[in-house]
């Protein structure tokens, strides 16, 4: 066998062996790749399942949130919620003129912690207290307790609210104290109830196009707040309100923010009567009060109110107004003589307008600044200009003989005001108002409220959460 033959035979013998060895290696590598592929897939799936478990756990866990809306605890399904909120207003009032009876002052206008939330999905509750300057308690009203009620809302169209809350009458009164255009509400608010204890049926139909409220309450004096009927007043008042926003769901953008409504109360009222105040919170009208042979005027009989109201918001512009007529039978006693009676018709109205210089969407509800104050970003929050005019007229019959009003009382106050609100962010708001009030009637003696026009600057620093 020569060399060529030897090589050929060797090659024929060796090649299959090499080929078998290579196949084994490929199969082994395939198996290893498949095993590794399975391991990777298993690891990926385990990670996926761990992630699902984590997400499920977080969905099932109670939630704690803190933010611009306050602090909130809720169950995972949000059927149980507890919110801690509140607001604080520090005001300053500066009066122009030397013969003004009121002092320039700093005061805590509102200091209101709020606890509210939901239990069992359909039961909302709210408790709001007030620890502001001058808050007192009486037999009929614990002024520290502003709101305390339960609202059952199985259906938005048919809700029941029970407890102490704002009766559905005054438009500006129904606006939160933390969301006012001016530091002090306008004149119509003084002729409508503040807060009262009662039961209210209310709801929103067609997603808020139509809203209604009707309730039975103890009944309170104009601007009054009460926890119970005392003395001879065991009558109850019916209060109701309807409000339309006819274009709310339409595509007519300029009219979407139009709302009109009317509210009223009907009942009997007995007991003390309120005075009426200027925007600077000076009393310009009071009923006669006294004891023994001195005359004393009280509420005694039919008390009804009617309050048409409207607002309109479009882009940064907003305007609202309301008119209030309060009719109250009043009684004047003096010594043992026969009492005198009058049917007092007191009226008030106001129109207020505002414009957001910074372009925010104006609204009856709280406005969110588009760009909270940030020096780093050159953002300045939201700035709103405001103006209003209002009047309150007291029935002329109260000034005849015998007099039901004090001799120093004016029978009419006419006020105009301008203001600026600076919303640094959703939680902090600064207010600067100027209000000027002229009077018809009233005392001209020095250091009497009505002796001169009231000119007052009111500032407010408000913190809310």
């Amino acid at each position: 066998m020569n060399l060529y033959q030897y090589t050929a035979v060797t090659a024929l013998l060796v090649t299959p062996a090499l080929s078998w060895g290579a196949d084994d290696t490929v199969d082994s590598l395939k198996r290893q790749i498949q095993e590794l592929d399975q391991k990777v897939r298993v690891l990926e799936r385990k990670a996926e399942l761990d992630n699902e478990t984590t997400q499920t756990k977080s969905q099932d866990s109670p939630r704690l949130t803190a933010g611009a809306d306050g602090f909130s605890f809720s169950s995972a399904d949000t059927n149980f919620v507890l919110k801690l909120r509140g607001y604080v207003q520090t005001d300053a009032r500066f009066y122009f003129g030397d013969n003004i009876p009121a002092n320039d002052t700093l005061l805590m206008r509102r200091v209101r912690p709020i606890i509210e939330g939901t239990v069992y999905k359909y039961y909302d509750y709210r408790i709001m207290l007030d620890f502001a300057s001058g808050i007192t308690s009486s037999a009929s009203n614990d002024g520290f307790l502003q709101d305390a009620y339960l609202n059952v809302h199985y259906w938005p169209q048919f809700q029941i609210q029970v407890g102490k809350f704002k009766p559905p009458v005054g438009l500006e009164r129904l606006q939160s104290g933390a969301n006012l255009l001016f530091a002090e509400r306008g004149y119509p608010t003084q002729l409508v109830p503040n807060r009262d204890v009662g039961v209210q049926l209310h709801g929103q139909i067609l997603d808020g196009v139509f809203a209604y409220q009707v309730g039975v309450f103890n009944g309170v004096q104009d601007g009054g707040s009460g926890d119970s009927d005392v003395g001879s007043d065991d009558h109850k008042d019916v209060a109701g309100r309807i409000f339309f926003q006819p274009f709310k769901k339409s595509n007519v953008k300029p009219l979407k923010g139009l709302g009109v409504g009317v509210a009223g109360t009907w009942g009997n009222q007995a007991g003390t009567l309120p005075g009426y105040k200027t925007p600077g919170q000076q009393t310009f009208f009071s009923y006669v009060t006294g004891a023994g042979t001195n005359a004393n005027v009280t509420a005694d009989g039919r008390h009804w109110r009617i309050v048409p109201q409207a607002y309109y918001y479009w882009g940064p512009f907003g305007i609202f107004g309301e008119y209030a007529l309060s009719s109250q039978n009043v009684r004047r006693d003096a010594g043992g003589g026969a009492p005198s009676f009058r049917d007092a018709h007191n009226r008030a109205w106001e129109v207020s307008g505002s414009w957001f210089l910074t372009g925010e969407q104006n609204s009856f509800s709280p406005v969110k600044p588009a760009h909270p104050l940030s020096f780093a970003n050159h953002d300045w929050g939201a700035v709103e200009l405001a103006a209003r005019y209002g009047e309150l007229s007291v029935d002329q019959d109260l000034f005849g003989s015998p007099a039901f009003a004090t001799s120093s009382s004016a029978h009419k106050a006419k006020s105009w005001g301008v203001g600026i609100n600076w919303y640094l962010n959703r939680n902090i708001k600064l207010t600067l108002d100027y209000d000027q009030t002229a009077f018809d009637g009233g005392s001209t003696a020095p250091r009497q409220v009505t002796a001169q026009d009231e000119k007052v600057i009111i500032t407010r620093v408000q913190f809310s959460f």
Binding site: Q38, R41, V42, K236, N268
Partner: protein
């Protein structure tokens, strides 16, 4: 204002409301196990139509909640307001009766066939060509066979899978529990991932491409094979397997509170009707009604079925022995670590 007169008028008005109103729409919540989504979607429509005819036009909406059977049971105990529960095993409804006190202990006697309107069994799905040659339960314990089955701690289906394997070995070994224990230990050693429910296990096997064999409900596998195409998977029916009997019940505590007791009861009773049994068969559940079962006999593989009673008496005992904390499943998992 005469408050007494107002309150009296309001009271009388409220009393008159129910008299003057038409049948109000009603909503039920059916809390069920993983693979029954499609079944109840179809059945709910059938029932709504039937109920509207029966009740004079009352509209009924049945909302569905699905998940691992034991997990769903815990949710109901924790307050999920189920009008009806349709779970994978009776033990999970027993737990609602015992711990949740939401229905009577004898709930299983309230409907025919121990409140089990259909049956099923446990079979296998393997990859096309059956590369690992899997034919019976004992093929699942071989080295190198990767098995996909959910976690018996959270899934009713997984408990049936476990008991299928346990029953197979117990019967083969003439009742030797130690051999059965060793058998299931080996099987779970071959399980790389424990999903929480049957639908998740199907995802693991089918979509994620993990494992050589999926153990699952017969209905889930027949449905999956149909939907996913026969070019990727093959069905393997072992010669014997366990007869599974999912059960249903209305939850008295919820239905009494909501006033839905009659309709919830009707919803479950109607599952035994011929038209509902047809729907069950269509979704590959074995019908209880003989005539419907015969009509669909060719749909289901011929398997020798053994019952739960043959392998563990009843669910209470089975749970205590196998699935309670420290039970056999926990023991074999520790050994496999």
């Amino acid at each position: 204002m005469n408050i007494k007169r107002i309150l009296l008028s309001l009271f009388l008005g409220l009393l008159a409301l129910p008299l003057s109103s038409a049948p109000k729409p009603v909503a039920l919540l059916n809390v069920s196990y993983d693979p029954t989504r499609e079944l109840y979607q179809e059945y709910n429509g059938l029932f709504a139509k039937w109920w509207a005819e029966k009740s004079g036009g009352q509209k009924v909406t049945v909302n569905q909640s699905h998940g691992g059977s034991s997990k769903q049971s815990r949710s109901v105990i924790d307050g999920l307001p189920a009008d009806v529960v349709t779970l994978a095993l009776a033990y999970d409804i027993d737990a609602i009766a015992e711990r949740g006190k939401s229905l009577p202990q004898n709930w299983q006697t309230r409907l025919p066939n121990n409140s089990s309107p259909y049956t099923s069994t446990i079979i296998f799905l393997v990859r096309k060509g059956n590369p690992k040659g899997i034919k019976d339960w004992d093929d699942l314990v071989r080295d190198g066979v990767s098995v996909v089955t959910p976690n018996p701690k959270t899934s009713g289906s997984a408990r049936w899978n476990y008991l299928g394997a346990w029953g197979f070995e117990l019967r083969r070994s003439k009742g030797d529990a130690e051999k059965a224990k060793e058998f299931v230990r080996k099987l779970y050693k071959n399980v790389p991932v424990l999903d929480s429910g049957a639908r998740g296990a199907t995802t693991t096997f089918v979509e994620r491409g993990i494992g050589d064999v999926l153990i699952n409900w017969e209905n889930e596998i027949l449905l999956g094979a149909k939907d996913l195409g026969k070019d990727k998977f093959e069905i393997v029916a072992p010669p014997s397997s366990i007869l599974t009997e999912p059960t249903v019940a209305w939850v008295d505590r919820v239905t009494k509170r909501k006033g839905t007791e009659a309709i919830a009861k009707a919803y479950l009773e109607h599952l035994y009707s011929d038209e509902a049994q047809e729907v069950l068969a269509k979704h590959y559940y074995r019908p209880r009604t003989e005539s419907v079962a015969q009509k669909h006999a060719s749909t289901f593989p011929k398997i020798e079925l053994f019952t739960l009673a043959e392998v563990g008496e009843n669910w209470q005992k089975v749970h205590k022995t196998h699935f309670s904390d420290g039970g056999i499943f926990d023991q074999i998992q520790r050994l496999n670590r």
